[in-house]
Amino acid sequence: MALKFPIFMDSQSTTPADPRVVEAMLPYFTEKFGHPASRNHPFGWEAEGAIDVARERIAKLIGARDPKELIFTSGGTESINLALKGVAEMYKEKGTHLVTTAIEQRATLDTCKRLERHGFSVTYVPVRPDGLVEVEAIERALTDKTILVSVMFANNEVGTIQDMAAIGKLAKARGILFHADATQAVGKIPVDVEAMGIDLLSCTAHLMYGPKGVGALYVRRKAPRVRLAPMIDGGGHERGMRSGTLPVPLIVGFGRAAEICAQVMPEESARLRTLRDRLQDAILGSVEDAYLNGHPERRLPHNLNISFAYVEGESVLMGVNKETALSSGSACTSSTLEPSYVIAALGASTELAHSSIRFSLHRFNTEEEVEFVARRTIEVIKRLRDMSPLYELAKEGVDLKSIQWKAE
């Protein structure tokens, strides 16, 4: 089969919508355009019915007992904001301390920073070099003022999957609420809020072949019944936790995406794992001084993150970007001019954080694409190393750490 360029291998930033998802959405823009809160005519009933179906499908995908436990939002960022701020506001009489990890996404870290400015305290638990947070480390961080533990289910850069069940058990035993940022996990690997003791869970449609602009927050209703202070005031939609007219077409697409993910997950994750392993073996097998970031096994099946010593990440992306979309933890590719804090938190040198490249596969990637990307990446690394002064020094046997670097 002929390759079609550019190849997309950046599915942890977003995924293409599945054509079946788009097909399900289309009627809800035009003939089925009703407002789901219109209780007195068929347009409203039709929209409400479609929302109910979507809610059930998403609830089923994450193991929620009751579809009513799902609150629709605009996406992962809003869900995380609502979970953290909503709990903090509602439970502040009980305590003002939150626990999270050093490798959370910005929505969590920045929300925590804001809460800290408003009188809350937050502990950022460090992770091991493979990206795993030790349950004992979380336990040590808990105090009698802790009201919430918030942990990323699977990491967006290195893909490491945390032991959510153990953390959930710990939180439950201490009477502390547990929020899972599962934006990278839902639809890709098994998620079960009941079995894992998760009280709040954030997810988003666009990372599971659904549309951008819609997400959900799971809010447990029983044992315990979680309460949240809303961030948006208005008509009291979504059990009063998130006012605003529901974007029916987006929610229908989200529901259809969840249904498809549930159906294909075992087969799809096995296929992507095989492709990912092939990519990993091809690259690590022929490039020296390349290091796998994250956990070798407890990792999302479609994630591969490698640091290539002696070359800078953005220059690698520039070498491949005519044909392939990848991403890098290099400072030059971030808006903050800082290299990846995730790779840095794993204890890698800052230099290796600048050199990290993330390959993230998706439903529509093929074997031919993987072979091409492996070949192209290897070529580009070789070319860049031939023009790298660090590679030259290392080849001469110079210890790069022994040099007094003159930073600008």
């Binding site: 800078e312 953005e314 070498g319 030059c332 600048h354 023009m387 002064p389 030259e392 930073a407 600008e408």
Partner: protein, 135 residues
């Protein structure tokens, strides 16, 4: 970020990649930047001791595409200039030529630093030689 055509051209066809032996006669070497900052440039000049003219220049760069392009351009500009003329190359000239956006200006600064460091190294090693050549 979209790159300017000239940055892409230098990235795809870098001029004068390579190294001279550090201790060779007429060679000056500048090594600037730091791996943890994501940018390291090595820039070398080879000066004709008779005329004081830079006859050849080479670079190796660890850094983003704009850093590679800035150092590649610097080697092009250095060739044929006298040591004194070379000292007048400014980072702003590189910014203008490559149309670097504000976030990439540090790449041009590093290239200017690399030129200065190579010239200083040359002058230090060949203090006597240059002085006689200039007379």
């Amino acid at each position: 970020m979209a790159y300017s055509e000239k940055v892409v051209d230098h990235y795809n066809n870098p001029r004068n990649v390579g190294s001279f032996p550090k201790d060779a006669l007429g060679v000056g070497t500048g090594l600037v930047g730091a791996p943890e900052c994501g940018d390291v440039m090595k820039l070398q000049i080879k000066v004709n001791l008779e005329t004081g003219v830079i006859e050849d220049a080479k670079f190796k760069t660890f850094g983003c595409g704009s850093a590679i392009a800035s150092s590649s351009l610097a080697t092009e500009w250095l060739k044929g200039k006298t040591v004194d003329e070379a000292g007048k190359i400014k980072n702003t000239d590189i910014v203008n030529e490559l149309k670097l956006p504000p976030v990439k200006i540090h790449c041009s600064v590093l290239a200017e630093d690399a030129i200065k460091a190579a010239l200083a190294d040359y002058k230090e090693k060949h203090a006597g030689a240059t002085a006689s050549a200039e007379k």
